[in-house]
């Protein structure tokens, strides 16, 4: 079944939850398929068998057995099993097992109309304060207060999310203006970013961008890497509110972090986010 769904578009999954989510999609589709084919056969047989040219007089009583209630009960039972066996546990893990900031890579993502601001805590691992009145779309889109306790070494990027592979990532999601949805299709991550709320999302990527790109060779997607897609109508630029995701090996990630820290030192006060698209999308 998973192959069938893959064939019908389901992208490969590259996070620790993707397997379980695909599994439940598959199970539900089995249920659907069985019901559909079962009733489909019954439907077609009845239409052929009881067409009026063949069956002149209808039977007033029709089917008298009540096997159908067994079928209905069976559907109910299967649904309950799906819920308790699969759906509830996955959800519980999703919302309850949010990793602590210490044993995970902690990143903030602040959505705004048509861009993703990615806020990294810097070397101290703690985020500086952000204040609405400091927001300046050109120089300080997230309103970071550099003078606050942990603010000095924070840096942020725009539309560039870099994460290490095989490490727990925790993203605190919020929005500056309207509701967006932070979606990483291949990682099976999706979460509304709602202004006024700060919602944690966590996942672990299981392959790097490079490895992922290899799987895409020969498909229409060849050469196009991972992206953040905005999956909630957020205004006229909704369709182009795209971010880029790069999953590094641990060392590469660390050196990227260092690089950012150096930039920060060199041109403090300057615009950080707009580094060149040095990642996968040169030919885009």
């Amino acid at each position: 079944m998973i192959d069938l769904l893959r064939y019908f578009g389901l992208p490969v999954g590259i996070s620790t939850v993707s397997g379980r989510i695909d599994e439940i999609i598959v199970i539900v589709h089995y249920l659907m398929l069985v019901l559909f084919i079962g009733w489909g056969i019954f439907f077609i047989v009845s239409l052929v068998k009881f067409r009026s040219s063949k069956n002149k007089k209808a039977n007033y009583h029709g089917v008298e057995s009540h096997y159908s209630s067994i079928l209905e009960a069976a559907v109910a039972v299967i649904e309950i099993v799906i819920l308790f066996g699969f759906a509830f546990p996955i959800w519980a893990e999703r919302v309850n097992d949010v990793p602590d900031a210490r044993d995970s890579e902690h990143i903030r993502v602040i959505a705004q109309q048509y861009a993703w601001n990615i806020h990294y805590p810097g070397a101290d691992g703690k985020f500086g304060d952000t204040r609405v009145d400091l927001v300046d779309e050109q120089d300080n889109p997230i309103g970071l207060d550099r003078s606050s306790e942990y603010g000095a070494d924070d840096f942020y990027t725009i539309n560039q999310l870099h994460i290490p592979v095989n490490k727990k990532i925790r993203i605190d999601l919020s929005s500056k203006d309207v509701i967006h949805n932070f979606k990483l299709p291949e990682l099976r991550v999706s979460q509304d970013a709602i202004p006024g709320m700060n919602i944690p999302v966590h996942f672990t990527a299981t392959s790097t961008s490079e490895e992922f790109l290899k799987t895409a060779i020969g498909t229409k997607r060849e050469g196009k890497g991972l992206e953040i897609s905005c999956a909630q109508l957020c205004g006229l630029g909704h369709y182009r509110m795209k971010g880029f995701v790069t999953i590094h090996e641990e060392e590469a990630y660390l050196s990227w972090l260092n690089e950012q820290a150096e930039y920060l030192e060199e041109e403090s006060g300057d615009d950080w986010g707009d580094e060149s698209d040095d990642d996968w999308d040169d030919d885009w």
Binding site: L5, F8, G9, P11, V28, L31, M32, L35, F36, F43, S46, L47, F50, R51, S52, N55, K57, A58, N59, Y60, H61, G62, V63, E72, V75, E79, I82, L83, F86, A87, W91, R94, V95, N96, D133, E137, G143, D177, V178, I179, N181, K183, E186, S190, Q191, P195, G196, M197, T219, K220, K224, E227, S229, A231, G235, L236, G237, H238, Y239, K242
Partner: protein
């Protein structure tokens, strides 16, 4: 109240300001069909854009998108999407299913001379009309029409232009539905003909009763929410605006402390029952047509009635399955997943009963029956694809993708819309005294059926690939969509074929209207009460003599009788 049928009426009294439920039903019918056509046209422009994103829209582009040289802009696309959804649901399908069919048929099927409150009935139509005019007018205001989706999620809807007119229009439409459904409930409870006990009511009447209750209880909260959103837009309150917003580069000046989630709760509290408002009348129509054309009673009539009543009740406690990704915790999500799975069971019961009704029948394949039969697998696909959406874990991936669009279009377009077509073909002889041409009917059915699937089936593929809905360019920006993008053109062409397939229908209607009336008042040899009235039924009184009911609704092929049907009114 109803002593005005003695004197002669002029044209206006008779057709425009009428209080006769049949005229009002027809007014509703014509208006809503026109809106359906309009909703379709909006969608056609949209689909063209999805298939050919950079292209100039042919013919109409230079008119409507003149500033941009005939190319559609993102804001135009959002307007089309929001208004397509709004128009199809609130101005097309609900008025057609409840306003037109409910109005026309409920009094006839319960053997009543009219609705319980004829003037209120007219008020309901005119309120709908005004609501429609406001919605249409919004296209011509400087701000343009709404563009935040039919769901109108704040804060976007509070910042975006065009929303005020949408909200005003909604207030009228809601009022109209409230008046209409009050009337239907009272008519069913109070005006049933002697002998017409609850379990002798045709299934269609039951479905209208449940639908009306849904409208009465679910619509007012949306009215309240609309008032709150209007306040946010006009009076500067911040019910739906949290503190600390930065919009378009500057801090939003509002008190704050509001909650965007509040709107979602109030909206979906309406909008989930609303989707059952879309489907229940359709199920009712399909039941009638199936019983008539299988020439046997509906199987499990009572369990059908219980199933839809239960469905109606449950529909009030599943709404948050549209909100799984709003940061919901375990309690909420478990509760709403459970109720969502529970609510799918009565739907399974209904479909099962319909399938089993076929067994042992003597099935006639006329046009209404074809549409009704097509409804079953189409609703089946739509309903079944609701299940992975109702399971929160799989909804993480499928939420707001084309999978959702595919899911609900399968229930509302080849589902409800086909059922409504079936109803139109089935009751046309009663309404006009003339039967629609069968050949043309089939010419309408087969291409429509194929094209519908051509439009909506690929949506599941696109959805499984993770392609988001409401994308102005159809998803070109995104890498994950590149595998499935080529479907867009196919779907668009199918949509245009779908449009062409409606031409035989429209032509059929006009040709038939100009033909001679038939004397046969019961061409389908049906049992329910409306067929014992003349076609069309007499103005204001419907029946020539008082109706008395002696049988259940579907006494077809009763053993030991020569005729294969036994009308409810024959002793």
């Amino acid at each position: 109240m109803s002593d005005n049928h003695h004197h002669e009426e002029n044209f206006f009294q008779k057709y425009i300001w009428s209080v006769d439920h049949k005229i009002i039903g027809i007014q509703y019918g014509i208006t809503s069909l026109l809106f359906l056509l309009f909703g379709f046209s909006l969608m056609a422009v949209m689909r063209y854009q999805l298939a050919y994103p950079e292209a100039v829209i042919p013919y109409i582009g230079e008119w409507f998108f003149s500033e941009s040289g005939g190319v559609m802009l993102p804001e135009n696309y959002n307007t089309l999407g929001a208004m397509h959804g709004t128009i199809m649901i609130f101005l097309g399908v609900v008025p057609l299913a409840v306003g037109a069919f409910g109005n026309y048929l409920v009094p006839l099927q319960v053997g009543a001379p009219d609705m319980a409150f004829p003037k209120l009935n007219a008020a309901s139509y005119w309120s709908y009309f005004v609501g429609g005019v406001v919605m249409m007018a919004s296209f011509f205001t400087p701000e343009g029409a709404a563009r935040s989706g039919w769901t109108s999620y704040p804060p976007l809807s509070i910042f975006e232009s065009g929303q005020t007119m949408w909200l005003l229009g909604m207030v009228f439409l809601i009022t109209s539905s409230l008046l209409g459904s009050m009337n239907i409930i009272v008519t069913i409870v109070q005006l049933r003909a002697p002998g017409l006990t609850w379990f002798r009511l045709p299934f269609f009447v039951w479905s209208q009763l449940v639908t009306s209750f849904l409208l009465i209880l679910a619509f007012p909260p949306l009215e309240a929410a609309a008032v709150l959103q209007l306040m946010d837009r006009i009076a500067g309150t911040s019910f739906f605006l949290p503190s600390g917003l930065v919009y378009a580069g500057s801090a939003v000046e509002a008190y704050g402390n509001g909650s965007p989630l509040l709107w979602q709760h109030l909206f979906w509290f309406l909008a989930h029952p609303e989707v059952y408002v879309l489907i229940l009348p359709a199920i009712g129509i399909v039941g009638e047509v199936l019983a008539n054309n299988t020439r046997k009673p509906l199987w499990g009539y009572k369990s059908l009635v219980y199933a839809i009543s239960f469905l109606g009740f449950m529909s009030f406690i599943v709404w948050a399955h549209h909100m799984f990704l709003t940061g919901m915790g375990q309690t909420m999500s478990a509760f709403f997943q459970l109720t969502t799975m529970i609510i799918s069971i009565p739907s399974v019961v209904v479909l099962t009963a319909f399938f089993i009704s076929l067994w042992g029948g003597s099935i006639r394949f006329n046009t209404p029956m074809l549409f009704a039969l097509a409804f079953l697998p189409m609703f089946g696909i739509g309903g079944l694809t609701g299940l992975p959406l109702g399971v929160a874990a799989s909804d993480i991936f499928l939420h707001d993708t084309y999978y959702v669009i595919g899911h609900f279009h399968y229930v509302v377009a080849p589902g409800t819309l086909f059922a409504l077509f079936a109803g139109i073909y089935y009751w046309f002889p009663k309404i006009t005294g003339r039967q629609l041409h069968e050949g043309m009917g089939k010419l309408h059915f087969y291409p429509s059926f194929l094209a519908m699937n051509g439009v909506f089936m690929p949506m599941f593929i696109q959805g499984l690939a993770g392609l988001s809905r409401r994308m102005y360019d159809g998803g070109q920006q995104y890498a994950h969509a590149s595998d499935v993008l080529h479907w867009n053109e196919f779907m668009t062409i199918s949509a245009f074929i779908l449009g062409l397939a409606q031409i035989p229908f429209i032509v059929n209607i006009f040709i038939t209207l100009s033909s001679k009336k038939s004397k046969d008042r019961n061409p389908w040899k049906a049992t329910t009460i409306e067929w014992s009235a003349p076609s069309p039924p007499l103005p204001h009184v419907n029946f020539e003599s008082a109706v008395e009911v002696h049988h259940g609704p579907y006494e077809y092929s009763v053993p030991g009788k020569d005729e294969d049907f036994c009308p409810q009114t024959t002793p």
